[in-house]
Symmetry: C2
Subunit: 337 residues, 2 copies
């Protein structure tokens, strides 16, 4: 039985995952629906910067009863030459043509008692040797998401999966954090008990605002460059993580969405959302790579909150719930033991 | 007569400029006052990252009648070794100890008919050869802004001025743009008629959002690495630019601050402020250098707007004033001929 990468299967899974997540979130919202924006990006002329092509299906729910803004994006992008920055672990791949498929989402709820969540699952593959002969024009048919499975003549040189999900509360609830991390651990344990602790630490390390010296939220799991189990099992792991997102998040939303709140809590939420903007625009590798490489700005910045505030040198008073968020939740903790 | 750099004179000018600008803006506001936050940053242990020391006097006006947030910051920072990234034009200076003094300000008005403005003036100097012997501890007295004039034994190896001001309207008024640029040109013309066009182009080139393909605003003047006129005349040029900011901005504020407005215009202002955040966090060299080198986060991010919104794929309808901002104002134009 073949264990070769199957791009068509990955694509079908990702499109279905996007459908299922949007349906689940819309049902939880109860009022607003997702609007779909399909887009394509033609490969620019060779002289006009990095040769990127691709397309996507961006779905946005705005002004919902529960979700102030929810963006769930499928995209697949191809490039003529992998930049060295994308291949720190695999320098031998620089310069090769590549394809990336993924689903990425950020959910900004209205009620400050409901945490923001982020997830993404993605597949990355080089599709040939460096400096290939110019492809025939039929190889650039991205408008219909025509990712053909690789035949013998162009077997992917190498490939990997990446992804995960993390949670960003404005007010801390221990049971929510425990549920979030337990769901992540349960998804990963069938693939090896060492994976959850490893991916949890990767998540804590990555979602840390260096200039603030604080974590973005209470973490979750995150992995990259993953092909260790071969294609079939690694893809199964990706599906397990993708499928776990909604069961991890939706019960928390359901439990908190009707909590009474007030203007001061809303103000705190808007202020804390500033940290999300700072992380995504200053540090997030995917965001910066996308913006700098000529990606589609609106789809990349879909992750930014709908409304945000910055205050100078704001420090919550000791003993408040806002202070407790910093002291008790915004630090790496073992939530799933 | 000596034409040697005079750090004490630069410092005295900058502190006085900060006083005058804050007084002028507070008078224009009529309700709120600036609060002062003096801070010092001890030089960290050599093992704890870049050796940065310094202090500053950050002034913030919040929730004014006219200004929603106005930040005017004086700072002086010293470093043990100039990073290569700061010396692209002068690679021979990498590794030297340095000092930087400056006033930087960003003003976010409440009424969408009043434009946002930004200005900064700064002096930068290396203070010795690379890899010096460790300084005596008395050399680290920053808490009282003790910038001593350089004596013969530690004459600055080299130095330069930089700065300028630029304007970011939410609604375009040609007469405001003309006044802004004419004031800049009048300040610079005594130093050579070629300077305004050159500094105007530098400003247009710098304040351009690459990922949006659009200018941040209608520009102004901006210069860096400037020592061409010798210290005395270059310092006079810096003062001319610093002194021109308030006469350039205040009449525009006075003219627009009582303009009738509405929620839709406020919404547009909050949306356009997102571009300001994107520029400062993704592109602005000073912001990123500050955050990455361990600068004081609250003073650096003082520039961010008090309230901001992001909407997915928002495009103003043809024929509206919002559309006219993009079409007629957010492109390089000759405003001062």
């Amino acid at each position: 039985m073949s264990d070769a990468p199957d791009l068509a299967a990955v694509k079908a899974y990702l499109l279905d995952l996007q459908d299922r997540i949007c349906a689940g979130l819309a049902a939880e919202d109860g009022r607003a629906a997702f609007a779909t924006d399909e887009w394509t990006r033609e490969k620019p002329a060779a002289s006009a910067g990095p040769a990127l092509g691709g397309g996507g299906r961006t779905r946005i729910l705005a002004d919902g009863a529960v979700f102030e803004k929810a963006g769930v994006a499928f995209s697949h992008v191809t490039g003529a030459a992998l930049p060295p920055s994308a291949t720190a672990h695999r320098p031998e791949l620089a310069g090769r043509p590549w394809v990336a498929l993924g689903v990425s989402l950020v959910i900004h709820p209205r009620n400050p008692r409901v945490p923001t969540s982020h997830a993404n699952v993605r597949f990355f593959s080089t599709t040939g040797p460096a400096e290939p002969t110019p492809p025939a024009s039929s190889d650039l048919r991205h408008s219909d998401f025509d990712i053909r499975n690789s035949g013998a003549s162009e077997a992917p040189a190498t490939w990997w999966f990446g992804g995960g999900f993390d949670l960003t509360p404005y007010y801390g609830y221990e049971e929510d954090c425990v549920h979030w991390h337990h769901t992540a651990r349960a998804a990963l344990d069938p693939f090896g008990p060492e994976l959850y602790p490893r991916f949890k630490k990767t998540c804590d390390d990555y979602f840390f605002l260096k200039h603030r010296g604080e974590p973005r939220g209470i973490g979750g799991v995150f992995f990259d460059d993953f092909s260790a189990l071969g294609f079939d099992r690694s893809f199964a792991l990706l599906r397990a993580v993708g499928d776990a997102y909604l069961p991890a998040y939706r019960p928390i939303v359901a439990r908190r969405k009707n909590t009474a709140t007030n203007d001061a809590e809303r103000d705190w939420q808007l202020y804390r959302r500033g940290r999300y903007v700072e992380f995504n625009l200053v540090q997030d590798r995917g965001t910066l790579f996308g913006l700098q490489s000529g990606g589609r700005t609106e789809s990349i910045l879909m992750s930014l909150p709908p409304l945000v505030r910055w205050d100078y040198a704001r420090v919550p008073a000791a003993g408040t719930e806002e202070h407790r968020l910093h002291a008790d939740f915004l630090r790496p903790r073992d939530w799933a033991s």
